[in-house]
């Protein structure tokens, strides 16, 4: 795993009165234990990876409570885990990244929501929306509506989030309904504090086992005719029970103000940003309180019509701040107000814009428009002045910088084992021409950016090969599909490989086997190299030691299967070319094996430090460039993009264009030398091996050589 959470694990055990300092997502983790969960599961992904990572690292402590932790292979598996709470009075929580994870889980989610739950079932979703997001921009809200789940969107303050997590379980039990708790990216990573309570050991757990299973009860199964009854119960009993709970426990909050003929209804998660925007627009009083009353919806589904009508009563206009498209709350509020015959104008997307993140800036601009059209008692002068100032400073910056600042998209790390494969692919493409490349989710999708610009489509996690099924039969060139080992185990084997084999697809699948789900923080997989082989590996790549994927593919009928080490560009190039041109029919699989460099370095640093401390022989490798020989065309960069391969002003006073150079970040992966050789780039690259604590024989030979070179070589 990329990060060590030793300190956080300690914090999880904190008792009554201790102050917790840390990130939002870890506060939620602590809150789960305070709520007496019996089991926790999930699938990693930003911004919620850490919940599971910490839980996995805290296994020893959780064992003492009897809490089970499961690092599931997909969100569907995680969601299905919650079925425990359908039959038994146990509390459980799962987590994933949304919208993608919720999409994957949606089958299980529907089947969980339909019968409802006995024990509290909580789903913590990281709403990966807006700046920093890496997924399709859609709202989790739609899932809550279609499956009649409760959706909480807490105001981002740690103590408040923790309180809502505890309420979420009680709400789930009161309404027999799973609850979604949505946390935005910045809320997950927000550093704050709260006062802890003792953890609660669950009544049913790994330590206090269920004596016997529940009696089969067809009413809890999603079969007709019970599904019809489920639907009735959702509407007639469970949603009303949820609304009652929300009102009785004051989940939604009203912040009153002296002005009361206009107001704002806001999703809880936007509250802090709203206050900053109000302050910038001078819509707060001396103490920092809003001059407009605010209804904070910490529960955004179901809405409570009575609560909304009460807030809108006697107001000329209300602004709904609801992030993302479509505006479900605004639509429902408009209908509620109309039915109640309350004469209140509802504003929302009209003044805020139809789509996009509600940044602080978007809120100030929206507030200005709202006040201008609906709140004559307040002034827009401050907001307008701010707008003018910002527009002017931006124009001035653009003028001074003259050209737009170049983009810096994410890319492969220094020494990443996936980079050489794309270099090989680019070289093959030069010889055999371009072909359709169905890409996938994972670090390898960075190949879509510079310098490789590789990939035609991404259809979802593990969907690379499946997404080529329609293209392959109509393409003159054999198509290539890409999947990482993370995507392979998540979904790729079943939806891609099994389907291609069943249909006799004549296409090529490239599997990146780097041993981990690296993009989400290097979590372990079924095919992660065993701890023993990692301990013995030293500086070598460990991924070749695990053949789970090869054996699975061979046993299911893949006949053309090759494994190549990623840094060996010549072999990789030849293997890919063969896959593209062989007469062999059916699915052809190339496994590109090379250990995630983050994990390798994490493993290597203590190993090397230990050997150096013990005075043992250590060889390190670095690459360099003779700048007198580099002609500065940077073809090497266009085949690599390695962060440590960069360009610099030449030292030669005659030359004006930049030369390539390798900085101190080089980890000696060897790609430079490989591509220089395979692509016949230029002879300026050299490889240096530095041996510390060399053997006596090595030192003797080196001395002899040095003496001979004094004779052979000129100064």
């Amino acid at each position: 795993m990329e990060q060590s959470f030793a300190r956080e694990v300690e914090m999880l055990a904190a008792g009554d009165g201790c102050v917790f300092h840390g990130e939002g997502i870890l506060a939620v983790t602590k809150a789960l234990l305070q709520s007496g969960v019996s089991y926790v599961g999930g699938y990693q992904g930003s911004p919620v990876s850490q919940l599971l990572d910490v839980m996995v690292q805290a296994r020893d402590y959780l064992d003492t409570l009897g809490v089970h932790v499961e690092a599931c292979t997909s969100e569907a598996a995680a969601c299905a885990m919650l079925a425990a709470s359908v039959n038994y009075p146990v509390r459980g929580a799962v987590t994933w990244k949304s919208i993608v994870g919720t999409n994957v889980a949606s089958d299980a989610l529907s089947n969980l929501a339909s019968p409802g739950v006995r024990g509290g079932a909580l789903i913590i979703v990281g709403e990966d929306y807006g700046e920093g997001s890496s997924v399709v921009q859609e709202r989790t809200h739609a899932f809550a509506m279609k499956s009649s789940l409760c959706l909480l969107d807490p105001r981002p303050e740690l103590a408040h989030i923790v309180r809502l997590v505890e309420h979420a379980f009680a709400l789930s039990e009161a309404a027999s309904t799973p609850v979604l708790l949505e946390l935005r990216i910045r809320a997950c990573h927000m550093q704050g504090s709260f006062v802890c309570r003792d953890n609660v050991a669950p009544a049913l757990s790994m330590r206090r086992l269920l004596a016997e299973p529940a009696a089969p009860d067809p009413r809890r199964l999603p079969h007709p005719p019970f599904t019809f009854a489920h639907e009735q119960r959702k509407v007639d009993e469970r949603l009303p029970a949820a609304r009652r709970y929300l009102v009785e426990h004051g989940i939604n909050e009203v912040f009153t103000a002296e002005l009361d003929d206009a107001g704002i209804i806001v999703q809880g998660g936007l509250f802090n940003t709203l206050l900053a925007a109000l302050a910038a627009a001078a819509l707060v009083d001396d103490t920092g309180r809003s001059r407009l009353p605010i209804l904070v919806l910490n529960a955004t589904y179901p809405l409570v019509p009575e609560q909304l009508v009460a807030f809108c009563m006697n107001k000329r206009a209300v602004l709904v701040l609801e992030e993302g498209h479509p505006e479900f709350i605004e639509f429902e509020l408009s209908a509620i107000v109309r039915r109640a015959q309350v004469d209140c104008r509802i504003e929302g997307k009209e003044v805020m814009g139809r789509a996009g993140e509600y940044t602080a800036e978007a809120l100030v601009r929206g507030l200005e428009r709202f006040v201008a059209c609906c709140v004559p008692a307040l002034s827009t002068a401050a907001a307008a002045a701010w707008r003018g100032e910002v527009d002017a400073v931006r124009a001035r910056a653009q003028e001074l910088l003259a050209t737009p600042v170049p983009v810096r998209p994410p890319g492969f790390c220094t020494g990443c084992p996936e980079r050489p494969v794309f270099a090989a692919l680019k070289l093959v493409e030069r010889e055999l021409g371009p072909r359709h490349i169905a890409a996938d989710i994972g670090c390898h999708s960075f190949a879509m950016f510079e310098p490789f610009f590789t990939g035609n489509s991404i259809a979802g996690y593990g969907m690379g090969l499946a997404s080529a099924a329609g293209v392959a039969p109509i393409s003159a060139q054999r198509t290539l599909a890409i999947v990482g080992d993370g995507g392979f185990w998540h979904n790729g084997f079943l939806s891609g490989v099994a389907s291609a084999l069943k249909n006799g697809s004549d296409s090529v699948l490239l599997i990146f086997q780097n041993g981990y789900t690296s993009a989400t923080g290097t979590q372990e997989l079924l095919s992660t190299p065993r701890a023993a082989s990692r301990d013995d590996a030293g500086g070598d790549s460990t991924t070749a030691s695990d053949t789970t994927i090869e054996r699975l593919l061979a046993s299911t009928g893949v006949r053309w299967l090759r494994t190549a080490h990623t840094y060996d560009v010549a072999t990789m190039k030849a293997t890919l070319a063969e896959a593209f041109t062989t007469q062999e029919r059916g699915l052809k699989v190339v496994i590109a094996e090379g250990e995630c460099q983050l994990e390798r370095q994490r493993r290597l640093r203590p190993y090397v430090a230990g050997r150096l401390a013990a005075g043992a022989r250590v060889q390190r490798v670095r690459y360099g460039i003779d700048e007198d020989i580099c002609t500065g065309d940077h073809a090497c960069v266009r085949l690599s993009g390695c962060p440590s391969l960069t360009v610099a002003q030449p030292a030669d006073p005659l030359r004006t264009d930049t030369v390539s150079t390798i900085d101190s970040g080089c980890v000696g992966c060897g790609l430079c030398g490989e591509i220089a050789g395979v692509a016949a780039l230029c002879p300026s690259f050299y490889r240096v091996e530095v041996v510390r604590n060399a053997t006596a024989w090595e030192r003797f030979a080196a001395r002899l050589r040095a003496w001979a070179l004094q004779v052979v070589l000129p100064a």
Binding site: A280, G288, E361, V390, V678
Partner: protein, 509 residues
């Protein structure tokens, strides 16, 4: 907003340790009695992409008063401190309006981590650092700019430690030095180096308000450059206008090392010819020097000393080079250092150094990949490797009879003729572009083939297009800034046979 609140935006490149920095700031602010909140948008941007962190602080509330509500994202125009761990990331925040002259202190490292696009250019695609520094100075209340990467390197620490030191030293946030240093100690990893980098940067703040202190790289000529010009040649160089002579002297030494005094004489002949043409043209031009002659002298020297296998071997097989490499990789005296050089001589490169007839025969044969493969890794630090390189370098006296030598001289003369033509009919701007045009010729192997084709095409347009044809040279040079940013090589791709794959209908398998 309450005047005592402070908002701090950190702009960084993923992997630089921004999260650690944020953690230190939070810890220091907390122990200084402030209310503090920090957040970030990690995720995949952490993999070498642009990323930001945001921190707000407020004074502790009066007893009984509610805790202040702090924001999770910056509002343009309302940022008090911008910390940037790389210069372009500071520029990105300027572009977004996060920096204002009334409010913002900018603390930024002046070093660059070039974006992939900047590095991919065939020419110089780098964003102008001076322009960024100028923009920062014009748009901020106070700018603290110095090379924190250098500080980091000095102490073998992460750059976050230097940034933290600069922040504390600037006093832009009310964070006492002790509280900051305690925060580093409490975090508990790499404490010693971090504290050293922190202190170094802390002290530099006071001295850097004056200006950027980036040292320019020391000039270093290639090792095969000649050492002293024969007197006659030196006199001829000295007779050139002073600006031309400066460059021509370097060019003369370079050609002397490459192929001896006769070759240098040829170099000077060629420079003199262009210089005469330019001075004839520029009778009415004020004393602005002879830019076309300077550019020609520069391009000509580099071209005449082209990189054939002989020159590469001569540059690689030197003790001074091995010493430089030892230094570069920070080898200790007892360490054994081995250097391996990667060669992949193609048929063309071997043909190039053969005598003309033989080389031409070899070159006519079908182009194959037989000599390519993976290339040859020669251990230059071994006796056999060093000997092989020395023997190759020793072919130098035979070079004037080689295939490539003749071809290069003819092409150089073609180009010089166009420079003269441009001086005569196109004016000095056109001539300057043509004089610089050999910059298009770059690379080895396929890249060289493509770029040479491009050069010849542009040169032909200049030669045949009359006065307007020279615009092609200006445009081609301008285009090198961005050429290659799409990841493609220049020139038409070499057509290759495409395999046709026949497979029986799938149903029948």
């Amino acid at each position: 907003m309450n005047a005592q609140r402070r908002s701090l935006l950190i702009a960084a490149v993923g992997g630089q340790g921004g999260a650690v920095l944020t953690g230190w700031i939070v810890q220091a602010a907390r122990s200084a009695g402030l209310v503090v909140q920090a957040t970030s948008t990690p995720g995949v941007s952490q993999r070498t992409g642009a990323t930001t962190y945001y921190v707000e602080t407020a004074p502790a509330p009066e007893p009984g008063a509610p805790a202040p509500v702090l924001a999770l994202m910056p509002l343009p125009g309302r940022v008090d401190v911008l910390l940037a761990s790389e210069l372009l990331e500071a520029a990105r925040m300027l572009e977004r309006g996060m920096v204002t002259p009334e409010r913002t202190t900018v603390i930024a490292s002046t070093h660059r981590i070039l974006t992939a696009r900047e590095k991919m250019s065939i020419g110089d695609g780098r964003f102008d650092s001076e322009r960024i520094v100028g923009a920062i100075r014009a748009l901020t209340r106070r700018a603290v700019l110095f090379d924190m990467e250098a500080v980091r390197m000095r102490h073998d620490a992460a750059i976050s430690a230097a940034l933290f030191g600069a922040l504390a030293g600037s006093g832009a946030l009310p964070l006492p030095r002790d509280a900051c240093e305690d925060a580093i100690r409490a975090a508990g990893r790499g404490v010693g180096p971090s504290l050293a980098a922190f202190a170094d940067a802390f002290d530099q703040v006071a001295s850097t308000d004056a200006g950027v202190a980036d040292e320019p790289r020391a000039a270093r000529a290639p090792a095969d450059e000649g050492t002293a010009l024969p007197a006659a040649l030196a006199q001829r160089v000295a007779r050139l206008p002073i600006d031309v002579a400066q460059i021509a002297k370097l060019g003369a030494l370079r050609t002397l090392g490459f192929q001896g005094a006769g070759y240098t004489s040829r170099y000077i002949d060629r420079v003199e010819a262009i210089q005469r043409a330019e001075s004839a043209l520029g009778a009415g031009v004020p004393a602005s020097g002879a830019p076309v002659s300077c550019a020609t002298a520069r391009s000509l020297a580099l071209w005449m000393c082209y990189d054939d296998v002989i020159r590469v071997a001569s540059l690689k097989a030197r003790r001074s080079r091995l010493a430089r490499i030892r230094n570069e990789v920070q080898a200790l005296p007892g360490d054994v250092v081995r250097v391996r050089d990667v060669f992949h001589p193609r048929r063309e490169e071997v043909a190039a150094i053969l005598p003309r007839a033989l080389g031409a025969w070899l070159g006519r044969r079908r182009r194959t990949t037989a000599l390519r493969g993976r290339g040859i890794a020669l251990q230059t630090t071994s006796v056999t490797g060093a000997l092989a390189l020395r023997l190759t370098a020793a072919l130098r006296p035979l070079r004037p009879w080689s295939l490539r030598f003749a071809a290069e001289q003819a092409e150089i003369d073609d180009w010089l003729a166009v420079v003269e033509q441009a001086l005569a009919v196109g004016g000095s701007e056109a001539a300057l572009a043509v004089a610089r045009l050999p910059r298009l010729r770059k690379g080895y192997g396929d890249t060289q083939t493509g770029s040479t084709e491009e050069f010849r095409r542009v040169l032909a347009t200049c030669r045949e297009g009359g006065a307007t044809g020279f615009a092609a040279a200006v445009e081609a040079l301008r285009a090198t800034r961005t050429a290659g940013q799409d990841g493609r090589e220049r020139g038409a791709p070499v057509p290759k046979a495409q395999p046709m794959i026949w497979t029986p209908a799938r149903k029948g398998r």
